[in-house]
């Protein structure tokens, strides 16, 4: 078992590194490999090539990697916390919360006549998405305290998503073309809209989010047996929920804020990790989900560059078959 796990981690590392390099190589401008290596070693000084390789491709590959890690980990935490295989940042409405925040910011503000937000607008989009995501998660957590049946929580999450979606549509209806277009483009998801100046900000949020996720490994393992057993094993559930809440807001909230809602990664990747590693232990699942998530989004980004499609559609088409396969294969998941 231990050998199998080690081999799988090695293979995954190789896959992530390979996909990362491929992601830098593939792009709309055809650059020979030698020139790219030249940029990395400093031999190529052509500013155009340098800019393509470092400012555009390398940055985008890093964002894809971070997004894959972040979305997968938040999905894993949510699935364990809600003891529900269909939980994830997307299904429970965190992404729609973020969309709602961004819609209020991009669409609502112009309607109210607040147009001159200037420099604040980039941080503002992220901030708005964060607040939206946090508000939805907070609501879900409060509801899950009062309602014992986890399926009810899931349905409420979906209803909340739809309700927020409806309000967003109302905002869209009253918006001008410019604001509307920037919002619609945001909803399609893009890994390429992040500037180098924003990267440190994202990096810090993801590192903190991942650290918190790692801290929750032991409680998450205990939560597999349900809340009662977790409590009787000495776990402070309120504290754990707060930590998972913080981690998911930082991870899914940040990525959604800067890249738009990227669906099905958080839902499908933890299942892939469980299936590949044949484990339920979060000490294995956290690094496994992070690696698989990174590989999936890097692959998604490559496909999106080759086929010129938005990343959101590709992750959906990659993730949905996984979920369908796992749910139909393993009926125990739904009992």
């Amino acid at each position: 078992m231990r050998n199998r796990t080690t081999i799988l981690f090695l293979l995954l590392t190789v896959a992530v590194v390979t996909l990362f390099i491929c992601d830098i190589v593939v792009g709309s401008v055809n650059l020979p490999l030698s020139q790219m290596l030249g940029v990395l070693t400093g031999a190529t000084t052509d500013p155009t090539i340098r800019s393509i390789v470092i400012d555009i491709r390398l940055l985008k590959a890093v964002i894809a990697l971070l997004a894959g890690v972040a979305l997968s980990l938040s999905g894993l935490q949510m699935q364990t916390m809600f003891s529900n295989p269909l939980a994830g940042p997307y299904v429970l409405g965190v992404s729609s919360g973020a969309s709602f925040g961004v819609a209020l910011f991009l669409l609502g503000a112009p309607i109210l006549g607040l147009t001159n937000l200037g420099v604040l607008s980039a941080i503002g989009t992220a901030g708005a998405a964060w607040i939206g995501a946090a508000a939805v998660l907070m609501l879900i957590i409060i509801l899950s305290r009062r309602i014992k049946d986890i399926m009810v929580i899931l349905i409420l999450g979906m209803m909340l998503s739809s309700a927020l979606g409806a309000v967003v549509e109302i905002l869209q209806f009253f918006s001008n073309e410019m604001a509307l277009k920037s919002f619609v483009v945001w909803t399609m998801g893009s890994l390429g809209d992040v500037s180098a100046a924003q990267l440190p900000f994202i990096l810090v949020a993801i590192v903190v989010g991942v650290t918190v996720a790692v801290i929750t490994i032991k409680p998450l393992n205990l939560l597999l047996l349900g809340e009662n057993y977790a409590k009787s094993a000495g776990i402070n559930l309120k504290r754990v929920y707060r930590l998972v809440f913080l981690s998911t807001t930082l991870l899914a909230g940040t990525i959604t804020a800067f890249c738009g809602p990227i669906g099905f990664v958080g839902l499908a990747v933890p299942h892939l990790a469980r299936m590949l590693f044949r484990s339920a232990d979060h000490r294995v699942l956290i690094p496994a989900s992070a690696a698989i998530g990174a590989a999936m989004l890097l692959a998604g980004d490559i496909i999106s560059k080759v086929m010129l499609l938005p990343i959101n559609t590709i992750t959906a088409l990659m993730g949905i078959p996984v979920v369908v396969y796992i749910v139909t294969r393993n009926r125990n998941l739904l009992q």
Binding site: N221, L225, G226, S232, A233, I235, R278, A280, R283
Partner: protein, 234 residues
């Protein structure tokens, strides 16, 4: 060892316990009996500090239960519920290993000593050959035993079990009851389990706690047999 002081438990207009008082002695095996809906499970959940009573105090080893920190409490009280867990890829030994949680580090590393305790606990319930089996492939009775092993691995002076014999066949029932009696008598543990299996309870227990009419009374087994005869018209 465990003392109930004026415990009141109510759900809406339904009162389960009204200023109930009783004492469970250290080193005894106690059966908790009562009709359906008398509040056996609710009481066990309160004793395990999973739920809180509406009013009153539970005193464990001289300390008020709600004042004991969660991690400390997990070293004093273990709990076995009736809840069935179905998680794919989770082995029996992993489940029993969660009983070691109060003693492991922040990430839950299992030491050699822990592994030994886990194996001993599985062996105590006759499940050592199931250590590597997935938990979702077990029968209800097998699962029950694994969860008892988990409580044993937690090495607590108090063990609470909610209907631990419910899914077990008759030989296993007596086996588990005898195991619990051994633990109480040889290791000085205080064990309380709810059950509808009066025969098994009277055969092995030191005392029987009867829940009836919003109160609870603990009787030595012989005395309890007489009361139960009237109560259940045996």
């Amino acid at each position: 060892m465990i003392k109930l002081e004026k415990i009141t438990v109510a759900f809406g207009s339904r009162t389960l316990l009204d200023s109930a008082e009783c004492t469970f002695t250290r080193g005894t095996l106690n059966a908790l009996v009562g009709r359906n809906g008398a509040g056996k499970s609710s009481l066990l959940r309160i004793l395990a500090a999973i739920d809180s009573p509406n009013s009153g105090e539970v005193v464990v080893g001289g300390k008020q239960l709600h004042t004991i920190a969660a991690e400390e409490r997990a070293k004093i009280i273990s709990f076995v519920s009736t809840q069935r867990v179905r998680v794919a890829n989770l082995r029996c030994c992993d489940v029993v290993a969660t009983g070691r949680a109060p003693y492991t580090n922040w990430i839950g590393s299992i030491s050699k000593e822990d592994t030994e305790i886990i194996n001993q606990s599985l062996a105590a319930v006759g499940m050592e050959s199931f250590a590597d089996r997935a938990i979702d492939t077990l029968s209800d009775g097998e699962f029950q035993r694994v969860m008892i092993a988990r409580a044993l691995a937690q090495q607590t002076p108090v063990i609470l079990l909610d209907e631990p014999t419910a899914f077990l066949d008759i030989p296993t029932r007596f086996e588990i009851c005898r195991l619990l009696a051994d633990l109480a008598h040889n290791q000085g543990k205080t064990i309380i389990f709810s059950t509808h299996d009066i025969d098994a309870a009277l055969a092995v227990c030191d005392a029987v706690a009867i829940m009836e009419k919003c109160s609870i009374s603990v009787h030595p087994t012989a005395e309890a047999a007489e009361i139960l005869k009237v109560l259940f018209s045996l």
